[in-house]
Structures are given as structure tokens and as C-alpha cells.
Amino acid sequence: MSTIVSMTGITRRFGAVTALDQVDLQVEAGKIHALVGENGAGKTTLMRILYGGLDADAGVIEVEGQSRHFRNSAEAIASGIGMVSQHYSIIPELTCLQNLMLGAEPGLWIAERDAEARATELATRMGFEFSWRAPAGSLSPAGAQKLEILKLLWRQARIMILDEPTAMLSPADGDALFVSLKQLAAEGDTIILVTHRLPEVLQHCSHVTVLRGGRNVAHAAIGEHETPDAAQLAAWIVGHEVPEVQIEAVAPGKPVLEIRSLRVRGDRGEEAVKGISLRLHEGEVVGLAGVDGNGQRELFQALIGVGTVLEGSVLLDGRDVTRDGPVERLRQGVRLIPEDRHEEGVVEDWSLELNAALGLQRLEPLRSGLWVDVGERRALAGAIAERFRTKHGGLGLPMRSLSGGNQQRFVAARALALKPRVILAFQPTRGLDIEGTLAVYAALRETCRREGVCAIVVSFDLDELLEQCDRVVAINGGALFEPKPGEERDRAAIGRLMVGAA
């Protein structure tokens, strides 16, 4: 087999951080090649360099034996390389056909009929079906993923980079995707699959390259005699054996938060949460496992007082708070670690000190009457930064001077401050390394135990929840599923609940 893509000695620095250090990647033609690693291992950075979206500081890229240096995506596309990034590049306001053509139009004048015929031909080849004149905004996640693949074929890409293609898909749609990808590989196309889902790698790929901390760790063929197993891959990815966390059992205290048959409307008018009931007790950390987009967001919105509750109620310490707005909820002790800290959790232009009060600004002792207590705010900021050892150069510096992980530490610590009652954490460890992840969960548990507080943690990583939470429940299609007695720690059983296969 011939090598079609060869990257050698690729190095890339962002300021003082070396994101990629002398990384090599050899990909054979007509294969599905997996690129795996933790968040922040450098997978996406490496792929963006290959696709011309980013410059390497050092290293050589060869495509089909020729040395290449792509200054932008257009040049990469011209050489037959295409990429589907994790966040789709589909523009919802354009039609499916317009999205397909954009950037690779058939000519200055667009004959829609001819273009549509060609598009249909491509789709039929892959076994897809599209109504081409419909706005792309109406596509399901799986439909959007299919359109992204057709966009690559339209551009006659022979080397396709797919970044976490199954992250937003149901298991059935994911399986269907791999059928298509195998068909493409059989036709001679090359696929580079960026993923962190090991079963995908072992089942569907023929080679795997593992990155850790911006360096090559391993390269292996799959399906031959030296095939690594999942444990071996996991060890390569993580670097050392993952310590089994021993959570001390907790005797459930009295109930704090009680959700009764809650139904919530989503942004698009659909019923996103369909009758969820759940009771949380003092000292308890409950994990909410589920694939992204199954009602987690809407449930949290209802709990912080900004969602549209259709029916049901939320009780806090026995009191009905369903109709209370966000200000009252904050006063009652509801705290949120939001999903997207840049957009939702901090004001990046503000100093750490100002950010410390964000969300707590109306609470004593930060407030006295109409006035801000500046001394208290400074003291709180210091305490928050101290808690998870946030690395910073001074409380007066803007938040944007902190790295992503340190911002996340800051936001998490803030949610634990000023006597919370319920902590709602949406992917609280996103962007954190393992050490940071462990610290956040430990602090969460410790706060819950010590102050008699409860917490709900949403994560798309079931393993993390099973290791770190007292109890795990699954959410699927807006409904909640509690594992059967005896299966509370059964990964497979909860996994089935998550995808509605139980």
C-alpha cells in the first residue's frame, strides 16, 4: 500500500505553549486511519495544519509524494483534501444545494437544474436522499453530517478529515455513517478519523495514531496480530493507569431539590423535557449521562429559572420555586457552572476581581443596599482563585489573560462560593487535564458533603460520571431513566439507557 499523506516533524507553538512537538503521521491510501488522544492532545491542531487552516512552525507535509505547504483551505481543497470539523460548516439560511456548491460552484453562472442533477447522482451513490431546495437549517444532525460528506465528494476530495463525526449522532446514525465511510475507502478514498471513542477505532479503522500532550505516543495497525486492545489504547492515550477513584459512600440526607414531572419547552417550540422527576439529597453528587442535545440544556434552564415550564414543579427545601426567576433562584442558592465559559461564564475583558462577583452580585456580603462592597469582592476573588490554585498574574488582570483550563477552575470555584444549595454543573471539566478534572470533582463532592449541598453534573462522558459521582442517571429524548437496582454502576446498562436501547 502506498502512503498518501506524510507529515513529519510537525511543530506548532501558541505563545509559550507547544501544542505539537515533532509529530509524525503517515496515512495509507484507501484506509480509514484513526487519530486519537485526549482533549488538548493536539489532534485538531494537527488536522488544521494539514487542511491549511493553521501554519506549522516546523515540519514537512507531503501529499501523494509531493511536498506541500497550504496557506489556506482553498489550496488544500485544490489538492484533494477535505475536512469536516466538529462544528459543521453548513450555513442554515442557504439551501442544501447552495451549501453543497459554496466554494466549488460549477461556473460563474449557476444552472440549478444541472447542479441538482449532479448532486442527486452523488447522493444516490452514497445511498443518501436530500430535498435539495430545502433550507439546510431544517436538517437533522445526521442529515447535516451526510451533507458535509457530500460536500467533500462534490469537491472531489480523496483525502477526508472527519473531526469527531459521531459526537452529535445517535448510535444507529453513527453505524450508518461508518458503512458509508467504508464504501468510500473501498472506492479508494482515504479517511482520517479524529476521535476519542475507542470502540469506533477498534471496529472500523485499519490504523491508529495516538497523540498525547502534543507528541507521538504510538502507531499501530488494527486487525493484524499485534492489534492493541482497548485497555492498551486507553493506556497510551492517558499515559498511565487511571487510578480508580474510591468515592466514600454517602448516607443520603434530607431532600434538597425535588423535580416533579417537569415538562419544559425548548428553543424551537418542541417539548424538550418530557416529564422528568428526580430527587436530590444533601451531600449527593448525581451524574446526568446522555448524548448531547437530549434535553440537558432545557432541564438546566428550567432549574435556573429561565426556561419555559409547561407543567410540573421544582421544589427547593420543600418550597415550590417553579415560578421564581433567576434572581430569586440565585438568592435561594442555585448555582450554575455553564457549558461555554467564554460566552456564558465570564466577561473576558473584565478583571478577575470583577468576574468573581458575576452571578453573585446581588448577594450579601458583596452587596450592601444599592452599593457594591468592593473590599468583600476583592476578598472573594482571592478565595476563588486560591481554591483550585488558578494560575494568574494578579486579580486586577483581565480574565482573557488566563488559559482556558484556569478560567474553568475559576468558574467552578465561583459556583461553590457564598453558600450554595444546589450546584448545576454542565460539563464542568471541559478543557481540563486529568489533574484538573479530579480536583473539580473532589471539590464538588467535598462541598456537597461538608455544607449539605447537592449537585447535578451533566457530562457526555459516561466513564467520568461513573468514576466520580455518587449516583448516575441517564437522559434520553427528554426523559429520565434510573438504572435498575443492582445495575447502578453497570456501564453497559446505563449506556443502553442513554441511547434508549434498554
Partner: protein
């Protein structure tokens, strides 16, 4: 005068719509590419002034080219500021209006030849009529049926995703603003041709009315053009009512002048249907 003359109304309305049509189409290319354009007024005004000065000196064609050139210079300044210097679209647009107002006053006061204050040489009116009424149709086809139109639409909706697809948003926006300059230049040249001479601030808010028409028309060429024609009609009704003894003559002209703005305000309040602004309007 004295009675309501429908024929006269239909004769004057197209002339009053012309500048609005041209400027609104200039606004369309700009805003479709994602650049908020409150500087149509200034681009028109500078063209009025330069067209007048250069027509007197070099004849009507050179005058027209000069006017267009001046508007294009301001449009390119707008492009450079928003794309290269990342200045806010509104701030740069406002600054361009201030500059255009000042510069046209300065040029007019200092360079108008006092010995030749008569009518400036004119191009035939038909030239402007054809240009203004064909333009919305041409743009409609361009947006629906061409590569450039698709890219313009895409960049205005989401510049980042368009870039991922190999479209260069900056290039698209420079071209869009170039078109804005040309169309606003034409609009200004028509105004000064129609009026016969340059007067300080002679655009009198037409750039903002054109923007209003663009919004009322949902950022689409044909509806925006219809809104321009409606505003032109309104203007001509108001001119007729002045000095006539008919019903409505007691209403001050200021009321009629406010109507386009009021209609747009109501449209913005969503009382005339959904807001259809390009999704990426104002994004860097």
C-alpha cells in the same frame, strides 16, 4: 397647480425614486456581505459635489466618473477600516458621513468656479432611468443565479463558515463595497443632475431613506426597490399637496417627510412581519 394632477404625480414619482433606488441597491450589496452601511448618505453626497465640480470643468461623462470615483474612494475607506483595521461598522460609517459632509462643503466652497455658476452639463435623464430601474432586476438575478451572488449571500450569513468552504470573505466584502460605491456614486450624480447645482447637504437624508427601504424590503432587491418607489410616490404626493386646496392640504409637509422613517420603525418593531436581516450582519 391648485388641483390634484395624477399625470403629474406619475411623471414626478420615478424621478424622486431614482436616487433612492440606486442608493438602496448600494446598501443591499454592502449589507448582504455583512457590512452594516449607514454611510450611504455620505457616499451619495460626496458624489453630488464631485460630479458638479468635474462636470463643469470636463463635461458630463468625466463628471459622472469623478462622482462615482469619489464615492468609491469612501466605500473603499469603509472596507479598509472594517476589514483591515477591524473598526466597528457603525463607527466607521458615521465617520465617513461626517467626513463626506465636511469634504463636500470644503470642496464646493473652495473650488466652485464663480464665473460659471449656470446649469451644470447633464447626461440625458434616460441614462439614469434605465440604470436605476434595471439594477434591482440585475441584482436579483445575480444573487439567485451566479457564483458571486451565492458567495455574497453566504458571507453575509456566516463569514467564518464561508471561509471554511474556501471563500475569502474579505475579498467578497471589498467587491460588495466597490459596488456600493458605484451605485451611490450614480445616485449622487443623478441628484445633482436633477437639481442643476450642488447645495450643502443636498442629499437631505435620502441615504437614510434608502436604508429604510432596504430594511422594509427585507434586504431583497425587488421588495426594496418597490419600497423605494413607494417612498418616491409619497414624496411626489407631498409636493403636490403643498399649495393645493385639496383634502390633506392642512397637513404640514414635515408629516409626509416623516412617513418613510415611521414605516421603517414600525417594520423594525416587527409589526410588519418577521425580521429578515442577514444573519452575519455586523460580524467582523
Amino acid at each position: 397647480m391648485g388641483s390634484f394632477d395624477l399625470i403629474l404625480l406619475l411623471k414626478t414619482a420615478p424621478g424622486l425614486s431614482l436616487a433612492l433606488l440606486l442608493a438602496a441597491m448600494g446598501g443591499l450589496t454592502s449589507e448582504r456581505s455583512g457590512i452594516i452601511n449607514i454611510a450611504l448618505e455620505g457616499k451619495m453626497l460626496i458624489s453630488c459635489c464631485v460630479t458638479a465640480l468635474m462636470s463643469v470643468a470636463f463635461g458630463p461623462w468625466i463628471g459622472l466618473l469623478g462622482g462615482i470615483g469619489a464615492a468609491v474612494v469612501l466605500a473603499m475607506l469603509h472596507a479598509v477600516l472594517t476589514q483591515m483595521y477591524r473598526v466597528d461598522h457603525i463607527v466607521s460609517g458615521m465617520a465617513i458621513n461626517i467626513i463626506a459632509f465636511g469634504a463636500s462643503n470644503f470642496l464646493d466652497k473652495k473650488f466652485t468656479d464663480i464665473n460659471r455658476t449656470g446649469e451644470i452639463p447633464q447626461l440625458p435623464f434616460e441614462f439614469y432611468y434605465v440604470a436605476a430601474f434595471a439594477l434591482p432586476l440585475v441584482l436579483w438575478l445575480y444573487l439567485r443565479r451566479t457564483k458571486g451572488g451565492l458567495r455574497l449571500w453566504a458571507v453575509g450569513n456566516d463569514p467564518d463558515k464561508a471561509r471554511q468552504m474556501g471563500v475569502d470573505p474579505v475579498k467578497v466584502r471589498y467587491l460588495a463595497l466597490l459596488a456600493t460605491g458605484v451605485f451611490c456614486g450614480l445616485a449622487g450624480a443623478w441628484l445633482v443632475t436633477n437639481a442643476g447645482r450642488f447645495v450643502d447637504g443636498m442629499t437631505a437624508g435620502r441615504g437614510f431613506i434608502a436604508l429604510a427601504a432596504l430594511i422594509l424590503g427585507g434586504w431583497r432587491p425587488i421588495p426594496a426597490a418597490l419600497a423605494c418607489i413607494a417612498f418616491g410616490l409619497l414624496d411626489s404626493i407631498q409636493l403636490q399637496l403643498q399649495g393645493s386646496k385639496l383634502l390633506g392640504a392642512g397637513i404640514p409637509s414635515q408629516f409626509w417627510n416623516s412617513l418613510p422613517y415611521l414605516a421603517t420603525l414600525i417594520a423594525l418593531a416587527g409589526l410588519l412581519g418577521r425580521n429578515r436581516a442577514p444573519a452575519g450582519l455586523g460580524k467582523p
